[in-house]
């Protein structure tokens, strides 16, 4: 029976994700081609906006892996996003004249998020802290970091030539540069970078969750003790998943500062800690596709509302979360997909067995 879960295509198309048939893959290819072709007819403003919505996808997908597939809710993704952003800013700002400096800064930023996640994960997972305490600890970590960064105004708070900037944030952060290509927020190069990273993250995580390792990750979510009693070092696997999720949040953080050349402590505040949880819950945390769709859609909704109605955007997000939790506990996209699959199988049965 285990043979079914080996081989690239079989793993990619495995049971831990919705959307497996030829119709799905055709739609997926169509959408991917549409995204690749968009720069030929979209305005620079529209491209820059879409890139901004999509750059949060690695963070959302990381949380789906951590929460939906491994059962650990996190209010710390905003913190890992901001840690990477700040570290990127510090390194890139100090290596302005060195070729490949921003790339080094990107690696450094992601490594910083991953390292802090590893240290935190070591303490909570080997300490067997209960699953409902972990999100609270992460929220506390975020708020402490926000408070700390908010008081870093003044010239004494600088690393090399880069000022941390206190509550006003770090400004003039250089955009990513690879060779002669500059990945500024309004560039087509940045748009393509974001689309490529989004697709790679989605497909990569799809392979991961459907692999043998991914099955064990899901096994830990469903029954920790059983998985331990099958010979797995559960704490180690939980730390690994936590680090991957933090690194993906860090990737989003780096794309964000490269896009806007700016980051401030509110990126690790209460709101920033909550939003990824809302994106993940509304779409459906047990599906990468659902989280991908809801992240982009909700970023677009929040942005549109913010432009038109200002302060109501987050109120709408809150109501949306409440409605989802009450009426679609598994998430809106996941619930609709399951209903559709159920109806499809009923229709197939009806066709095979004739009308009742």
């Amino acid at each position: 029976m285990a043979r079914e879960y080996t081989g690239f295509w079989r793993v990619l198309n495995g049971p831990q994700e919705i959307g497996r048939g030829p119709v799905f893959w055709c739609l997926f290819a169509f959408l991917a081609l549409g995204l690749l072709a968009y720069p030929f007819f979209g305005s620079v403003f529209a491209l820059s906006n879409l890139a901004n919505f999509c750059l949060y996808i690695p963070m959302g997908l990381g949380l789906a892996l951590l929460w939906g597939y491994n059962g650990v809710l996190s209010f710390g993704q905003g913190a890992f996003f901001a840690i990477a952003g700040y570290v990127y800013g510090i390194i890139a700002g100090n290596l302005l004249d060195i070729p490949g400096g921003t790339l080094l800064a990107a690696v450094g930023g992601i490594a910083a998020s991953a390292a802090i996640a590893a240290a935190f994960g070591y303490l909570v997972f080997y300490g067997q802290v209960s699953n409902w305490i972990i999100p609270l600890l992460l929220l506390v970590l975020s708020l402490i970091l926000e408070t700390f960064m908010a008081q870093t105004a003044g010239y004494q708070w600088r690393v090399g030539s880069v000022l941390l900037g206190g509550y006003n944030g770090m400004t003039n952060v250089p955009s990513l540069e690879i060779g002669s290509a500059n990945f500024g927020g309004a560039s087509i190069a940045f748009y393509y970078l974001v689309v490529a990273l989004m697709l790679i993250t989605y497909l990569g995580l799809r392979l991961l969750v459907n692999s043998h390792y991914g099955h064990v990750v899901v096994g830990i979510r469903d029954d920790v003790e059983r998985t331990r009693m099958l010979g797995y070092n559960v704490a180690l696997i939980q730390i690994q998943v936590f680090v991957v999720a933090a690194a993906l949040a860090g990737l989003s953080g780096i794309l964000y500062v490269s896009w806007g050349n700016y980051i401030n402590p509110s990126s690790m505040g209460l709101l920033a800690a909550t939003l990824p949880v809302i994106w993940t819950a509304v779409g459906g945390r047990s599906s990468l596709l659902a989280v991908l769709l809801s992240t982009v859609t909700l970023r677009w909704v929040a942005d549109t509302l913010a432009v038109r109605g200002g302060e109501y955007a987050f109120l709408v997000m809150g109501i949306l979360l409440l409605v989802t939790m009450l009426f679609f506990p598994a998430g809106i996209v996941v619930t609709l997909a399951r209903r559709w699959l159920h109806q499809k199988s009923m229709y197939r049965d009806l066709k095979q067995n004739g009308a009742p």
Binding site: M1, A2, E4, Y5, T6, P15, H212, H215, V216, V218, G219, D222, D223, E225, R226, T227, R228, M229, L230, G231, Y232, N233, V234
Partner: protein, 245 residues
């Protein structure tokens, strides 16, 4: 760690002076237990005798307050549960613990820790799956299996770890007499294939079917050991366990 006196090749598991208390209650009290390689042993005793605690100590879910556990000539007293499983000691829990939302096939994927290993597997698992009728239920969600099939699936998950010692905690709880007999037959056949098995069971029909060496636990201590005939004719055992006056 020097091997203790109980580890001499023929002995697969030796527990010495094991003690475990919860609050003021001593669940396991200076208990010694030795299992020979290839043995099939039944552990019986009234409720609260310390059977499940003893299993927890052997599998590593509980840390003993005192005592030593030697498994295959190695002191495993301080090893974590997953390390004990990797050394060949696996447990089926008292309440069925399977991945209910996943299919039978997915359950088995998780249980196979080395899917890419070229090492030849001992074949017990595929034999067990076909004997218990689970091989045709690969795509069924484990939570939708009948109660007995869920119990059997959990035994198969344990077998997938290729254990040298299998601990079964009440494997027939909630089963019909026919299913109990089938399980007993299965356990006996498993043992005939060379696997050492330690079973905790309340159902005397199961114990009688297996009819092997029996250890009686009472107040966390070994009350007596013997063959089925010896145990059933022991007046004191009948009094404390079978409820006769």
């Amino acid at each position: 760690m020097p091997a203790s006196s109980v580890s001499d090749g023929l002995v697969v598991l030796g527990a010495k002076d094991l003690t475990k208390s919860f609050g003021g209650i001593r669940a396991v009290d200076h208990l010694d237990l030795t299992l020979a390689r290839g043995e099939l042993r039944c552990l019986i005793g009234p409720n609260g005798a310390g059977k499940s605690t003893l299993f927890g100590l052997l599998s590593g879910l509980h840390r003993p307050d005192a005592g030593q556990i030697v498994f295959k000539d190695e002191d495993i007293t301080n090893l974590k549960p997953f390390q004990r499983v990797r050394r060949g000691l696996c447990q089926k829990f008292q309440t069925t613990r399977i991945y209910r939302a996943l299919t039978v096939a997915q359950n088995l994927v998780i249980a196979d820790r080395t899917p890419r290993s070229s090492r030849r597997k001992n074949g017990r698992l595929s034999w067990a799956l076909s004997t218990l009728g689970l091989d045709s239920e690969g795509e069924v969600p484990a939570g939708e299996l009948s109660h007995s099939h869920q119990q059997w699936l959990e035994i198969c998950l344990a077998l997938a770890t290729e254990p040298d010692l299998l601990l079964l905690d009440e494997p027939t709880a909630g089963m019909t007499p026919e299913e109990t007999e089938l399980t007993a037959q299965f356990v006996v056949n498993l043992n005939r294939q060379g696997l050492t098995v330690l079973v905790v069971e309340h159902d005397m029909a199961f114990v009688r079917y297996i009819a092997q060496r029996i250890t009686v636990l009472h107040y966390g201590r070994i009350f007596t050991e013997g063959s089925l005939g010896e145990i059933e004719s022991n007046h004191e055992v009948r009094r404390i366990y079978l409820g006769e006056r």
